[in-house]
Symmetry: C2
DNA sequence: ATCTTTTTGTGATAAAAATCACATTAAAAT
DNA sequence: ATTTTAATGTGATTTTTATCACAAAAAGAT
């Protein structure tokens, strides 16, 4: 039974894993699996079962001792938590290679999020419609975003103009940003920004790989 | 002074930040900045100065009291640490929208990494050459990768076939993988895999936005 | 019913990461 | 040369995250 003073504090580390859980359980539910235990979720997600149980515990007592979790029920709970019922309209800034690929893809298998408009500096692109997504000029950003009440954006604008582009987004009422330019930009504390840093990921991957290959000095 | 032996373990959290530092300092060096203090790096990277100093300290005493850091020198050190001198050849699996965008982009501003070959199931694509990158059939994977001695790969193969594709990569000698399919796959402990999960990022962003959780960054 | 088995949820503990705060060192000023 | 100022590097501490390990609860077996 859920306690009355639930909804306390959810650790950031737990929040990061929520989409992983949701996807995993959704897939199970769709396959017709009715019942699952933390140990099995662990095998599917590569997250230790103790961590899974601890994470789940932040949202109430979702399972039953000696039984496990009712898949449908837990999916329902996570569905609620992540607001998957509400449609998220996303604005895209920067219609280059990556931007175009994102539009073409447009979260096809995620029915609750969609890029609904895009902005591009290059005048040759603006005015066009790609895969049903209208490309506007950056000058139109503020009016379009406020009119359509969008507050989530993805920026694929190159580093040199990243800060500039993010400033405009913030000024247009955007509060959540995913930035493909890895250079850190300054935003007000009311705005949340995350970075997708491909080069950085590769560098750290290789950094660890280099550390693992030779006679390891991994003591403690 | 720190002994060579002590320069052993670098925390994962620090390793993740290394590319951010490197990029920031490189940019400063290129702009002609000769000297910088942790406080200023903090403003540029949004990472607290104490964290920066602690991170740097894992690689020796890079700075001087009452002065700060010699930009050129620190860049040199990070350059060495991250092996930026060594060229990283990357294999790409899955030449769809995202795959094509990655090839077209091909880490243009990062002169030490490059997609040098790609693999695609669809027979219509294989045999072609895109932006100088040859597209092979997946059947050729093992021979091409061992011949070219590549051990880093990016997979943009959709979730349904993700595990299958990663199995082939591992079998072909790949040890570092960046996977654009967010569903967790199983790999041997000798292989390092990271995930780029756009949908997940958006979901957590919006989750926090709903919670109006304060993303406090203290610069000091 | 009763017993055995299973698996949760969570106190307790450990490990990792972030942060504080300042002695120490070096630079800059006088 | 001496004093003042500045900023590092790091012990100490706090906070966050992960893990252990098991009593309690529920399921399933007999």
């Amino acid at each position: 039974m859920k306690s009355e003073q639930e909804e306390q504090y959810v650790p950031k580390a737990t929040a990061k894993r929520l989409p992983v859980y949701y996807r995993c359980l959704k897939k199970l539910a769709d396959t017709g699996v009715k019942r699952i235990k933390s140990q099995e979720i662990s095998e599917l997600t590569q997250i230790p079962s103790a961590t899974i149980r601890r994470d789940f515990s932040h949202f109430g007592e979702l399972g039953r001792s000696g039984y496990g979790y009712e898949v449908d029920y837990v999916v329902e709970v996570f569905h609620e938590i992540l607001n998957v019922n509400k449609i998220i309209n996303i604005a895209l800034v920067g219609v280059g290679n990556i931007g175009k690929a994102l539009i073409a893809n447009n979260f096809r298998r995620d029915d609750n999020m969609k890029i609904t408009c895009a902005f591009e500096k290059n005048e040759e692109e603006s005015g066009k419609i790609l895969s049903g997504v209208p490309i506007y000029s950056v000058a139109q950003m503020k009016s379009v975003l406020s009119r359509e009440n969008i507050h989530v954006a993805i920026s694929t604008v190159p580093s040199e103009h990243s800060q500039e582009s993010i400033n405009m987004l913030v000024d247009s009422g955007i509060t959540s940003i995913l930035n493909f330019a890895p250079g850190r930009v300054v935003v007000p504390s009311t705005v949340d920004i995350r970075y997708i840093d491909l080069t950085g990921e590769i560098l750290t991957l290789v950094y660890y790989d280099g550390k693992l290959l030779p006679p390891i000095i991994k003591n403690k």
